[in-house]
Symmetry: C2
Subunit: 352 residues, 2 copies
């Protein structure tokens, strides 16, 4: 064993000159997170499953295909309009499984609690996890609790890992995206990020903006049952629609052309984004996903999404072309096209 | 859905008068952790898998038996003699799977990093996880990274979840322990806790005491292959041997009688315990487990353990009798018997 271990270099693969310390942006889902994954984690833990860089790993065991994923949740504030850290912790992992076309079955929960957290707060979070698990049809079967000294944590952090089963033959992943595919999204974007931001900054708008946090597996199952040839699914969390599409275009080596006028953004969310200086394309969502299907299946997929209570706002928002290295562009309402880049730096930390 | 949700009470099940806030002891692996699990988590997430209260949940899927578990690691200091948070994070979860008699296969890793952590520190931890994963024969296939603001975390917390496969027909769990069983432990106890404590308090002893942190799945596999009829396995982490046995005796409704003179404790560890006022029975280990087998299999099991490099110090340390509610007793070298209770309060926080 010791020889193999020494095969890989022991000098830090992240440019230490530039990033001697971990910054908030390394956890923001944008360029620096990407660098950390590409340069440190994937080479260190080298294996084909991790290399797929999907929301979950799909493992073949004894003829069965299992999806396995994990996510930690550090959102602040713990409670916000439309959800809380408990709903996020369940739906986030359920959705990562769903994005592989897996049906979510079992979750684990690891709590890291800061000493002094009100017991009632823990209880509210646990109840909300229970309700979310029930709504998503998953069982929470194993867990762990750690407590750290006051000032060494922040209320409560929750990790969930999840196991799902893949019962179809499609290879749903970024690399399956093809020129000619159409891009759909399952509803209006930007609500989760704005809900958190408004709460944190004590902003109030005419209407309350609620997080879109929701379990997406049911909708995906409808697409599978409806015979849609799904090439790729991706939930639009940290880094928003823009970062998700940039990752996919890079992985599949294609150009994704968005038609901005077709991307649904609620008026109040658009207004809040203008006030706060955010681009809705980069704002986090917790109940929205992008879907890549062959052109011929796009209308069928759209109809299935629209028939689901969580997908009434679904839309076809772009298409895929050939490109050597990967590119995302967006055409605005006056016909100008801009390049959409991955989130650089950290727009809004502790969003999930 | 909403009707079902309302079925379970919304008032906090932990006596709020007594514990209005979460304390360090709620994460210590002793009585209060037990109360949290028994009164809050199990009733809330009610299902038979969680109810088994084992180190991992064993799930039947399509004729295959999978073990699934999770653990978060918050140890301070991050690096200590004999290991670091990375070795712990891999071995801890590998061992929880092994304690169900499962062969560990896949791990997830969730990092919660405090802004400002030296990039080199992260790299050291990642390398150490890679080496430990390789040594234990598991693949790290999915992960997540979050960064929290300076002062809202403590360097790095790591959650790992794991999947293993159970390839035998034994039902290895606390409830399988029977009167007449013998109790073995796989080696000397107390080293991990004392190694951490010595480092934290800047104590030095004549010899350096190193953590016993190690992967236990290989040894368990030898027992399975050797045809030992394993009734129960339990690694002796937070709360030590005493708390592990108390939990098992309560669950199986039996009396576990320990013979203290047969419990191996290194001289330097015993000395350190005396200085620090610790009872070695309650000190955490990260590479030791207790094993319950029928009397007829005890010598065979002992021989198998002793033949393994990690089990050379194994010993038969007690036996199991009938008891209505569950009890652990220890007979000392002069023949006096005392009752061994579960760890009450918090002996040493942030041990794993």
């Amino acid at each position: 064993m010791s020889e193999k271990v020494n095969e890989f270099t022991s000098s830090c693969p992240i440019p230490i000159q530039k990033y001697p310390n971990v910054t908030l942006a390394h956890g923001g889902g944008g360029k620096l997170t990407h660098q950390l994954i590409e340069k440190m984690f994937i080479p260190a833990f080298k294996n084909s499953l991790l290399g797929a860089q999907h929301d979950a790993a799909v493992i073949s065991m004894d003829g069965m295909k299992l999806a396995f994923t994990t996510d930690s949740f550090v959102v602040q504030p713990l409670f916000f309009p439309g959800g809380d850290i408990g709903t996020l912790a369940v739906n986030g992992t359920v959705n990562d499984l769903a994005m592989c076309g897996a049906w979510p079955l079992y979750l684990s929960a690891g709590f890291i609690i800061e000493e002094g957290l009100a017991m009632e707060t823990l209880w509210r979070v646990v109840q909300s996890m229970q309700r979310s698990a029930q709504a998503a049809g998953v069982q929470l079967v194993t867990g762990d609790t750690k407590v750290v000294e006051k000032g060494k944590g922040d209320g409560i952090f929750i990790n969930t890992a999840g196991i799902g089963i893949v019962e179809h033959e499609m290879s749903i992943q970024p690399k399956s995206v093809r020129p000619g595919d159409e891009v759909l999204i399952s509803g209006d974007i930007g609500r989760h990020g704005i809900a958190i931001m408004a709460m944190r900054e004590n902003l109030s708008f005419e209407s309350q903006i609620e997080s879109d946090c929701a379990p997406l597996a049911g909708m995906v199952q409808q697409l599978v049952n409806g015979g849609v040839d799904i090439h790729c699914l991706r939930d639009l969390t940290r880094g928003g629609l823009a970062s998700a599409l940039c990752e996919i275009s890079e992985s599949a080596k294609v150009q994704i052309q968005l038609d901005e006028s077709r991307i649904p953004v609620r008026e109040d969310v658009r207004g809040a984004c203008e006030i706060l200086g955010f681009d809705p394309l980069y704002v986090a969502n917790e109940g929205r996903f992008a879907l890549f299907v062959p052109k011929n299946d796009a209308e069928k997929a759209l109809a299935i999404l629209k028939a689901h209570p969580l997908g009434t706002g679904a839309a076809i928002v772009g298409s895929v072309r050939e490109h050597a290295s990967g590119l995302v562009t967006a055409k605005n309402c006056i016909g100008t096209t801009r390049i959409v880049d991955m989130l650089s730096g950290e727009q809004l930390p502790r969003i999930c």
